[in-house]
Every structure is written in C-alpha cells, then in structure tokens.
C-alpha cells in the first residue's frame, strides 16, 4: 500500500554492481550486486561474516571497495573523487551501538548536523528536532543526555538524529542487536512507521520475523555473494539449502 508507483526509467536509489572487497587476504565481498528503488525496503540477512554489514557500510563509503561500482542517489561512491559530504547528506546511517554524542543533550545531538552542515538557524533546527523526536515517540527527552535514556530510547534518538538531515535513503546496521526483546520492539515499531511513510531503506538485521513483515526484498548473503534474493516470501519458502538452513536456525 505504501509502494510508490515505479517506472522502469527511474534510476535506483542504491545500486551495487559486481562489488569486490577484501580485508587483507580475506575476501569479504565477492561480486555483490543489488538495487534498491525509491520507497523500497531491502533487508540484508546472512550469517556473521557473510559480508552483509560490509556491503551496507560500502554504500555510505565507510569502506572503500576494490572493484565494481556503487551508485547512491546519483553519487558514484566508487569514484575516488567522490564528494563524500554530499553523499552523506543524502544517506542516513544508524549503528548498532547508537553512537549518540554523550556530552550533548538529545536536542543538541539532533540539531548539530542541520546547523553545522546545512546552515539552518538554531530555532528552525530546534523546531525540526521536536518533529523528528515526536516521530520516534521521544518528544519529552529533548533536554536529557544520552546516558539518561534506555538503550531503546537511545537508538530511537539516533534514528531521529539521522532523520533530521532529511536523507533520501536510510541504512540500518543491526540496530537492535544490542537490545533486549522489549526494547527491540519499540525500535522496530519506529522503523515500520518510517517504511509506511515511504522511506527508502537498507537494513541488516537478525530479526527474521521483522524482516518478513517489512521487507519488499530480501537479500541473503553467503560467503561474500548474494546467494538468494526475492520478496519476503523466500524466508518462508527458501529456494537454496543454505537459506533454508539459515532461517531454520534463525526462526
């Protein structure tokens, strides 16, 4: 229902083609290709070490690739002369460990980048901070410091901080892996609401039930390759024995 009508001419928001990447002798990405269209939610799954987090981090150039091509919101990420800050204004990323700035209030965490990078006024940024915090259900935490919040609240605040930059695509790197089931639930609800609003998203997660509910497309990574891909239904009826084994143990 939230799917935006796509035309075949619209370029994908994120496109990886034949991406290779090694850490020393270890080949992490071995010819990875996938695309994410506007308004689409792509879920990356796979065992630890399968390369899914690396693939995600390559999208925001937190890792550089050895060969292949990555295009994100029109930026050639694989180009050495890439305008990194322009890319990162279009891409929001949320990490497993929240990474809120501990010495700043939640409001200051959120207004920092819009004020420093986009140059919007303090009052405008504060108004926007209120909006994004309301979106994640934390409007009463403006003046609190990160350490005063629970893990789930910190992660929601980190999502709000990303949203304040009005990204065109959001990346989520195992954002609930540090949380207990109850706190995981409150973070996932926020992400679901974002998906319903039509936000383009790429996420790495181990929450299979959640992936099933939210994914427009699932990419199963295995040994640095896209081993199987398809709609969320592949999680219930996998085509390859590797995915069958993975979801078998994951559910």
């Amino acid at each position: 229902m939230h799917n935006i009508t796509r035309t075949d001419t619209a370029p994908p928001v994120v496109g990886l083609s034949d991406v290779h990447k090694s850490f020393g002798a270890l080949k992490v990405l071995n010819g990875v290709s996938f695309e994410v269209n506007r308004g689409e939610v792509l879920v990356l799954i796979g065992r630890s070490g399968s390369g899914k987090s690396t693939a995600l981090r390559c999208i925001d150039r937190f890792e550089t690739i050895d060969s292949g091509e990555i295009i994100v919101c029109g930026h050639r990420v694989s180009d050495p002369k890439l305008d990194l800050r322009a890319l990162r204004q279009d891409v929001g990323i949320v990490f497993q460990s929240y990474n809120l700035f501990p010495h700043l209030t939640i409001e200051e965490n959120i207004t920092l980048a819009p004020c420093s990078v986009k140059g919007i006024s303090k009052s405008q940024a504060k108004e926007q901070a209120r909006q994004v915090l309301a979106q994640v259900g934390l409007e009463d935490k403006l003046r609190q410091y990160p350490e005063q919040l629970s893990g789930g609240q910190q992660q929601r605040a980190a999502i709000a901080r990303s949203l304040a930059m009005q990204p065109k695509v959001m990346l989520f790197d195992e954002v609930t892996s540090a949380l207990d089931p109850e706190l995981t639930g409150e973070v996932l609800k926020v992400i679901e609401a974002l998906a319903a609003d039509g936000m383009t998203m790429v996420m790495v997660t181990h929450e299979m039930g959640f992936a099933k509910g939210i994914a427009d497309r699932v990419v199963f990574m295995h040994r640095g390759k896209v081993h199987e891909t398809g709609p969320a239904a592949i999680l219930t009826s996998p085509a390859t024995p590797e995915l069958a084994q993975f979801v078998g143990t994951g559910l």
Binding site: F62, N99, H103, L104, S116
Partner: protein, 227 residues
C-alpha cells in the same frame, strides 16, 4: 635549639609580596591560556596523517619533556638576546613557560583524543560533518572533559614551576622573596611566608578551574557523572 622567628619585618613588605604573587598568577594565566591552544593544535598535529607534521610535533614534545625547565628558560633568554631581540624578563618567562607547558598539554590532550571511540567519529562522518567540525564538536570537548583533572594539575604545577623564572629576574613571587630575604636577613620567615602564598595561589587556581569546569561541561554540572 633556639628558634626565633620574627615576621614583623617581612610582613611590612606585603605590597611587594602581593606584586610578586600577582605577577606569578599572570605568568600562570598566560602560559595556561596559550599552552592550551598549543596543546590542542599539537595534539591534532601529532595525530596528523602527514608524517612530517606528526614527526615535528613529536620532536617538540620530546625535546621539552626531556630537558630541564631552567635550561629551556635560559635557551629562550639568551637565544632571543643573541638574535638581537631585547625583550623584558617577564615576556621571556611567559614565552618559556608557554613553550614548556604546551608540550605537556599536547600529550595530555592527545591521550584524550585517542580515547574517543571510533564509533563517535563514524556517526559524525555519517552526518556529513567536516573534519574540523568533528574535531571541534565531537572529539575536542569530550576529550578535554575526560583529561580535565590531568590538565588542571599540570597548570598548577606550571604555576609552582614559574618560581624558576626568578633566575632571569622576572619579578615574580620567588624573585621578590629572594630580594626581601637578602634585605632583611630573615630568610626562613620569608620562605615560610612565600610557601604559604604559593599554597593560596594553588587553591585559588584549583577553585578557578573547578568553576570553569562547571561552565564548560554542562552535562557534568547537571548529572555529576564522569563521561
């Protein structure tokens, strides 16, 4: 044993002691302020990706930390004189103390910078902040908050060490004391008094740093927890 202390002759010279104490505080203030700036720049330099910059900053730190302060003061004093620069003893003292404390501050702040988790910087990079903005907003303030106790002890030590500049006749507290004891022949009383004044100056500085900490670290003021 016949201990006969007479402070009367010393105490009537109180305006001279006051002048000396104020000059000591001035030296400490100048060296602390400039030393902090040097320390921040030096720490950034030591972490620079350019090997020449980081080597130069490393040489500065090691050269200062492995030579005596008095020798550094003489080097600045006679070095500037041989270049034909005629500067007051106060200026030379302030310059030498600044160069000295800048090196120690560089090391302390560098340790603070190194303690910032990598994830903090990645989060800031992900928000498209520039390198300078990341250093200022995300690295420097939490780093300084963490090393603030070491930094402020270093600055109090510096104030005490400034007594060495009496050797180039900067008219600070110890130089005043040297002059008064030779004038009154009450050496022991003079240095007892001077020691007390140094203790008071230390307490004043510590109180000042405590107040400054409340102003520049609002999170700590509100929550009282270490970062």
């Amino acid at each position: 044993m016949n201990l006969n202390l007479d402070f009367a002759a010393i105490l009537e010279r109180w305006p001279a002691f006051l002048d000396g104490a104020l000059l000591t505080l001035q030296l400490a203030f100048i060296a602390t302020a400039l030393g902090t700036v040097i320390g921040v720049l030096g720490a950034i330099g030591r972490r620079s990706r350019h090997p020449v910059v980081s080597r130069l900053c490393g040489i500065y730190v090691e050269a200062i930390r492995n030579t005596p302060l008095l020798v550094q003061i003489f080097l600045v004093y006679f070095g500037l004189a041989s270049l034909g620069l005629k500067l007051s003893a106060f200026t030379v003292a302030a310059a030498a103390l600044t160069i000295n404390v800048g090196a120690y501050t560089t090391e302390i702040i560098r340790a603070g910078f190194d303690a910032i988790p990598r994830g903090q910087i990645e989060a800031a990079e992900g928000l498209a902040l520039s390198r300078a903005q990341i250093y200022w907003h995300v690295v420097m303030w939490p780093a300084i908050e963490r090393v603030y106790p070491s930094l402020t002890s270093q600055f109090v030590l510096l104030m005490l060490a400034s007594s060495v500049t009496s050797q180039i006749s900067a008219e600070e507290l110890t130089a005043v004391a040297n002059y008064i004891q030779s004038d009154t022949y009450r050496a022991f009383e003079t240095y007892i008094l001077v020691a007390i004044v140094y203790v008071v100056l230390s307490l004043v500085m510590r109180a000042g740093f405590w107040l400054l900490g409340l102003v520049i670290f609002p999170r700590r003021r509100r929550l009282g927890t270490p970062l």
